[in-house]
Amino acid sequence: MSTSFFQRQEKARTNTGWLVFLFVTAVVGIVATASTVGYVATTMASPRPSDIGGAGTIGQDPLDPLAVAMLCGCAAGAVIVMGSLYQIISLRSGGGSGVAESVGGRPLVVDTATADEKRLLNIVEEMAIASGTPVPPVYILDEPGINAFAAGYRPNDAVLGVTRGAIENLNREQLQGVIAHEFSHVLNGDMKMNIRMIGILHGILLLSLIGRFLFHSLRFMGGSRSSDNKGSGGIVVIMLVIGVSLLLLGSIGSFIGGLIKAAVCRQREYLADASAVQFTRNPDGIGGALKRIAAIVTHGKLEHPNASVASHLYFAQGVYEGFTGLLATHPPLPKRILAIDPNWDGSFETTRASARVGLKSSNVAAGALGAGVAMGFSAAPGKADQPVSAKMVRDATEHVGSPEEEHVEYSASLLQSIDHELRKAASDPYSARALIFALLLDRNASIAEKQISDLRTSIEPAIVELTVRLAPIVKKSPESTRLPLVDLALPMLRRMSSSQYQQFIHAFDKLVRADNQLSIFEWTLAQVLRRNLRSQFHRVSAVPVLYQRLSKLSSEVSLLLSMLARVGHTEEESPMAFGVAAKKLSDVRLHLVAADECNFTKLEAALEKLRRASERHRIELLDACAEAVAADGIVKVREAELLRGIADLLECPMPPIIDVEWAT
């Protein structure tokens, strides 16, 4: 049942490929048919040679059927291509928030949140931190039905939408199941695939729209002309025929396209359900949610007029999609419930018991706050420089993109342990900036002072004061909370306006460059922030996979591994660490890069290229990175978090590495 991250991503990629192939075939078919129709229509409608020179027709050349055919084919093809491109581009540029707003969502704001909404936010934060991704912004849809969706092109710019009905009708574990399902869509690469699908389908639909337009507009023209000149009447008839054919072709094409899209979507839904169960190890959660949806009258139906745009993004069937179920983007509820719970008895009653018992994570909260001195919870996650099990580090890559129940529990506990002041700071765009600055202050006091004085010249004084106030709290906090704090702050930072962002980034860059002795950990933290924030304010184009073999990137890999080998190892030990790492990538020629040749500029460039390797290879690379860090068998929390940061920069979201004491 547990397939790995890259297997699922590759499956999504092959699904997309198959889909594209089918669509291309359909388009070719449409173009060919359009040409044929044009040809046939011309042949039938053009004046016979014997008419030329006869009464009334002056200089009418017979229309060249071949020309017409080619023109028709080209026109049809052009329309489809343009339509598809346009839709794909506009969906990409609107981003997740664009989709969310177009179906009537409004952003959830912490301060005015009701208790139920706050619970939702907590769940989303737990899940995000458990997956190792930034916390996505949450949108609320004012709908009574129970439904949710995830939109956006990449995990880094994902947004979640949840209906009011869901928030109010589901208990914590059911809501968690739904959110886990949506997160799985994000992690499995479904969103990218979906956007492409909408795009291509739109192109075909455009054809039928044009056909309709032609048909209606020419019907009138055709009527008045047909009485006189037979030649031009013939042309109008041609256009009429073309119009009708386009309409038919477009409609049939859309229908077939719809079938294909629906079939693929249904498959992905089952997959997301399965991933969600793996995520939470709690079939009752998502199973319960599905039962609840089935039990209430409105099910998951959404009332907003624009809801069908995102029909395949929802958790449950959101819009009416026909009787037969062939066009439905979601499998029928009973089938989904059975897939999760083979022993299901067919009733939609969720037991009172499961309604009471929250998921363990809420018990964790109660336990840790109370007298809980139970073995597992007494050690707060990642105490100071507590070592992390090297074995867990080495195994960490197994969990990339596949967070599990223990990660969720761990992250719930982690969130509880974060200082209240820091949490508050992270929940607002204004103070989140100060939090970020505080996170990046150097441990060395004199360097930190220089950073503060640099800040005074680039941002308003109140923020500098806040930074200074938060700094000691940040210093006291365990290392394991740094990346999660960045993940928590990100959705708020995205709410800045462009000019506020410019000012922030300017101050941020100055802070980070303050000293040349920036540790690789701080640098990684800074990069994670920059990358995840950039996509909000700059057009970021999709990164196509360029490199199918790591051997082409040997110098970049060497640089990365060399720099990591020096982390936590002395200069003498580092060749050994490097060697251990290099063994994992036996087919790549690697060499240890000298210390003075390593700098962050080069590393940034190297990572840029490495991101263009395929998923499978990026994970292999991550494995090697883990070896480099864990070579001497001693891994500090800081080093484990560094690995997670590198994983983020390689677009392989890695769940927190749970340290030994907590796990027992």
Partner: protein, 204 residues
């Protein structure tokens, strides 16, 4: 080239051109909508902080009442101003396109800030009050909320400017009027200090 070609090519090319123009137009419309949504969202962020501020004030009055027994007028002025601001916000909520509601809100906010300022100025003369833990915490929270209001307002004004500029530019102005984007949004001014611009970097 025979006439038959022309008769066929021209309409198709024109159609193609029309389609392109239409798609471009739809793109512009979508962007107008997106920018306007951003304005509305930024406003709701201001709302959140304003509400927080209004919620803090009754608490503040309670704390201060015991110490500043003889300053009834000032205290009442604050309460009145606060209530006015609350209703001002209710009217403006969800109607950031209504200039008079927004203007009324701005006036109410200025009034509130003014009376709060007077209250705090007077409070300086009461050392016991200043030493009070609750007072210190409330003051801190109020200041922080005001900072957040300022920041949110700056963000709002940025998004308003972006929307207005785009709406007025060519070619969006061609379709803006016909598609419901008929007027500019107003900038919001609460009379507070603008967020201090980053101090000029001196090269001395």
């Amino acid at each position: 080239m025979s006439i038959s070609w022309l008769i066929l090519i021209v309409p198709i090319v024109m159609l193609g051109f029309l389609v392109l123009v239409l798609m471009y137009g739809v793109g512009i419309y979508n962007r107008l909508v997106a920018l306007r949504n951003r304005v509305d969202n930024s406003f709701s962020q201001i709302e959140v902080q304003l509400k927080r501020r209004y919620d803090l004030i009754p608490n503040l009055i309670e704390t201060v009442k015991g110490y500043m027994k003889h300053e009834r007028e000032t205290l009442e002025a604050v309460i009145t101003a606060r209530n006015q601001a609350v209703s001002g916000l209710q009217n403006a909520s969800g109607h950031s396109d209504d200039p008079s509601a927004m203007a009324a809100l701005a006036v109410a906010e200025k009034g509130l800030s003014g009376s709060l300022g007077r209250l705090f100025a007077l409070a300086e003369a009461y050392p016991d009050l200043k030493a009070n833990q609750n007072m210190a915490q409330l003051t801190e929270e109020l200041t922080s909320t005001e900072n957040k209001i300022g920041f949110a307002r700056q963000g709002y004004n940025d998004s308003v400017t972006e929307y207005n500029t785009y709406r007025q530019s060519f070619p969006p102005l061609l379709i803006a009027g016909a598609t419901g984007h008929t007027s500019d949004r107003e900038l919001l001014d609460f009379g507070d200090e603008p967020i201090a611009a980053a101090p000029k970097v001196s090269f001395s």
